[in-house]
């Protein structure tokens, strides 16, 4: 019995934390965010060197062949420094889609390019979850039409994986005729998502026509795990930044960390977050080892972490007082990352509704 990270995973964690902390002092985060490109080449290349872009890709396709929990260890590190790279779309969701639903030829074509970091993927599944401004993409014959919003990490992507209804997923190069990409700017400038519009685009369908249902489901699951891990890392850093700031900041001749109100705010933050780290670990483990338990635990983990994140982003900012509101300490980059992650791939109430359906509490 061992519930927790293995020694190897702890090493992995250490090396990625060191990498991101070295690469991303606040002034560089600020500088990268201002470019609004969603991908910093320097960091991306570093991740390629560390084999992170191929973390989920089997060795035969040039990857590291690790499991989801390993990937989450990396993702949490990336979240801790609000790292400006399209990791969730390209290194998590796209490989899961290709591995679950791709033909051998599709895997051989794309997976090595992903692992090598040469090709970046954006993944469009928003309308499978819920619709607001867009109806999603539909397939008629072998032609794709429609638009999809919030394509994950679609800003800097070269190729898109786009769901066309619940059973089809298309591989669409950004430069293909009929493709229009529109950047969507959220408050989080460190990652860039987009809208993709397809007009009469010829479909290269993942696994063939009507074969992508499982791939879409697993891609969404993987994406949710990734966003939750990113928030977990970002939110935990916010708590510790608040604690450190409170210890240094003095008002009325006392460190504000000695005021009970501030102490209790910090205690509440860590209490809200910490148990969800355990649930997220389990959900990631279940993703590989106990598929029957994965769906529900992922839904509960992301919704719970999103709620904790919302409380923490606000409370940690409050502990920082006026400094938290300014750009001087840059705390807002974390605030915004947590905020946007919460809304992507299903807001908490949508996830909880899915959880009710998944448990048979409600008709679908």
């Amino acid at each position: 019995m061992e519930f927790g990270l293995s020694d190897d995973q702890k090493l992995l964690e250490n090396s990625f934390r060191r990498f991101t902390e070295n690469k991303l002092p606040l002034e560089r985060i600020r500088e990268f965010a201002n470019t609004k490109t969603g991908c910093n080449a320097d960091i991306w290349n570093g991740l390629v060197e560390l084999a992170a872009t191929g973390v989920l890709i089997p060795e035969q396709y040039g990857g590291a062949g690790f499991k989801m929990l390993d990937a989450l260890v990396i993702l949490e590190s990336l979240g801790r420094t609000v790292t400006p790279v399209p990791f969730t779309g390209s290194a998590i969701m796209a490989p899961v889609a290709l591995l679950t639903g791709g033909t051998e030829a599709q895997k051989e074509e794309w997976l090595p390019q992903i692992a090598a970091g040469e090709t970046k993927f954006g993944v469009g599944v928003t309308e499978i979850i819920s619709t607001r401004d867009s109806k999603g993409v539909s397939l008629s014959g072998d032609t794709l039409n429609g638009n999809t919003m919030f394509v994950i990490d679609g800003g800097p992507a070269d190729v898109y994986l786009i769901a066309a209804g619940p059973d089809n997923m298309a591989i669409v190069p950004r430069t293909a005729p009929g493709v229009t990409v529109t950047q969507l700017t959220t408050i989080d400038y460190t990652r860039m998502h987009c809208e993709v519009k397809l007009e009469g685009v010829k479909a290269d369908l993942l696994g063939g026509k009507g074969k992508a249902s499982e791939a879409i489901k697993k891609t969404i699951m993987a994406g949710r795990l990734a966003l939750a891990a990113d928030t977990l890392g970002a939110a935990e850093v916010m708590i510790y930044k608040a604690v450190e700031y409170a210890k240094e900041r003095k008002q009325f001749e006392r460190a504000i960390a000695s005021y009970q109100a501030v102490k209790h705010m910090c205690a509440e933050m860590i209490t809200e977050l910490e148990p969800f780290r355990s649930l997220l670990w389990y959900a990631a483990y279940a993703y590989d080892e106990m598929p029957d338990e994965a769906l529900i635990n992922i839904l509960l983990a992301k919704s719970g972490i999103d709620e904790a994140g919302k409380f923490i982003k606000r409370t940690a900012t409050e502990v920082h007082g006026g400094m938290g509101f300014t750009d001087l300490m840059g705390l807002h980059y974390w605030y915004k990352r947590v905020s946007v992650n919460r809304a992507l791939l299903g807001t908490p109430d949508i996830l909880r509704n899915e959880a009710a359906i998944a448990q048979g509490w409600l008709a679908a």
Binding site: I187, G324, T326
Partner: protein, 399 residues
């Protein structure tokens, strides 16, 4: 309970409405101007003062309208300009804080020199109170001034100086007697912003805008006659004005209009083909917030009534800031949450709603919860002054 204002006031209201109706074409657009007043604003201000619709109680000899204080008329003026969505004249810290301070603590020369151009928008003021190390505990401020040749020589740094980049003057708190206890060594000084040694840098906030500034002061020379009140009495001078600070009634009008805007969002936007208003959870949350907003609205009337009768409403007044700022943020939060991922889009993005103003609002609301006395400080005040609970006890000396 009598919610009518009586004939005198209804007449006043009717006149005011006619005035607005007739003159509104001359008014500059409503809204908080983050710039120095120009001719259009100044002319409109002049017209308002002449008719007694702003600076009502400032004596005629200093350029005001010279009326007796009458809070009901003040409320009516506020109500009618808000309802008509017409610019109600200049605001800002010169008119709101410096002028009352001069009236109470300034000398005759200072009043004659500064009040008229301030209320006519010729001199625009900024406030130099907070410092990076002195926020909630303002009296621990360290910007200092020594005296040389009948001048203060000021050194230090101020923060949150909104409008400093276009202000003509600054009223500033500085430590002039470093050896005295912290509340007794402070002076209140009027400083010309064109004096050499003042550097204003925009202070970017989480919203991405620079709503405030930092102001760095290096050997800034200010004539000693620019001190208001006595040297070393600046803390008292600043606090007599803080007492008068407006906005203590909350701003239910603004919140009611937010409810309207959110309602429109819920009625017009759809999630999975179903209007958001038909999703129980968003609707329920909006109505819970509406209840609090209506409560605040009538609570403000109750406080107004206390003021009219010169009663001290105690805890009822003390809760308003904490209640109002928390409620304001809850409202912007409802809008954002109902919009889901669309709510995360920001200024300039395709598909963004209301130009991203809900996100801006939500972040700025958090700033307001923090600013001017955090919620923690507010709760201290409510429990100590409102409920008679003990102040934070004095600590033993350490090390």
């Amino acid at each position: 309970m009598d919610l009518s204002y009586g004939p005198e006031y209804e007449d006043f209201r009717a006149e005011l409405r006619a005035f607005i109706e007739k003159n509104q074409h001359k008014a500059p657009p409503a809204g908080m101007g983050m710039k120095h007043p120009e001719a259009l604003e100044q002319d409109w201000q002049k017209l308002l003062i002449e008719n007694g619709y702003t600076c009502r109680t400032i004596p005629k000899k200093y350029g005001g309208y010279g009326a007796e204080p009458d809070i009901l008329k003040t409320v009516i003026i506020q109500e009618e300009f808000t309802k008509a969505n017409v610019n109600s004249g200049l605001s800002g810290q010169g008119i709101g804080m410096l002028v009352p301070t001069l009236l109470e603590n300034g000398n005759e020369e200072q009043r004659e020199k500064y009040i008229r151009p301030t209320i006519y928008g010729e001199i625009h003021w900024c406030q130099g109170y907070s410092e990076p190390g002195a926020g909630s505990d303002l009296a621990s401020l360290r910007t200092n001034a020594r005296v040389e040749d009948d001048h203060f020589i000021i050194n230090g740094q101020k923060i949150w100086t909104s409008g400093a980049h276009f202000a003509d003057m600054c009223f500033i708190l500085v430590r002039t007697e470093p050896d005295k206890p912290k509340h007794e060594g402070i002076s209140y000084i009027m400083m010309d912003m064109k004096t050499p040694g003042i550097e204003v840098r925009p202070l970017v906030t989480m919203t991405g805008a620079a709503e405030f500034n930092e102001t760095f002061l290096t050997d800034v020379k200010v004539p000693v006659e620019n001190v208001v009140g006595k040297r070393g009495e600046g803390w008292k001078v600043a606090n007599t004005t803080l007492k008068h600070e407006r906005g203590m009634l909350g701003d239910p009008g603004q919140m009611l209009s937010r409810i309207e805007s959110i309602l429109k969002i819920l009625q017009n936007e759809k999630l999975d083909g179903k209007r958001l208003i038909e999703h129980d959870m968003y609707r329920d949350r909006l109505i819970a917030a509406q209840a609090k907003t209506e409560a605040l609205k009538f609570h403000s009337l109750r406080l107004l009534s206390h003021t009219l009768k010169n009663e001290e409403p105690g805890v009822s007044r003390l809760i308003v800031k904490y209640y109002g700022t928390t409620l304001a943020r809850e409202l912007s939060d409802i809008a954002l949450e109902a919009l889901g991922e669309l709510g995360q889009l920001y200024m300039g993005s395709p598909h963004v709603r209301s130009h991203g103003s809900w996100q801006w609002r939500n972040m700025f609301d958090l700033g307001l919860i923090i600013g001017g006395g955090t919620s923690q400080i507010q709760k201290n005040i409510i429990s100590e002054r409102g409920l008679g609970m003990p102040r934070e006890p004095k600590l033993a000396e350490t090390k």
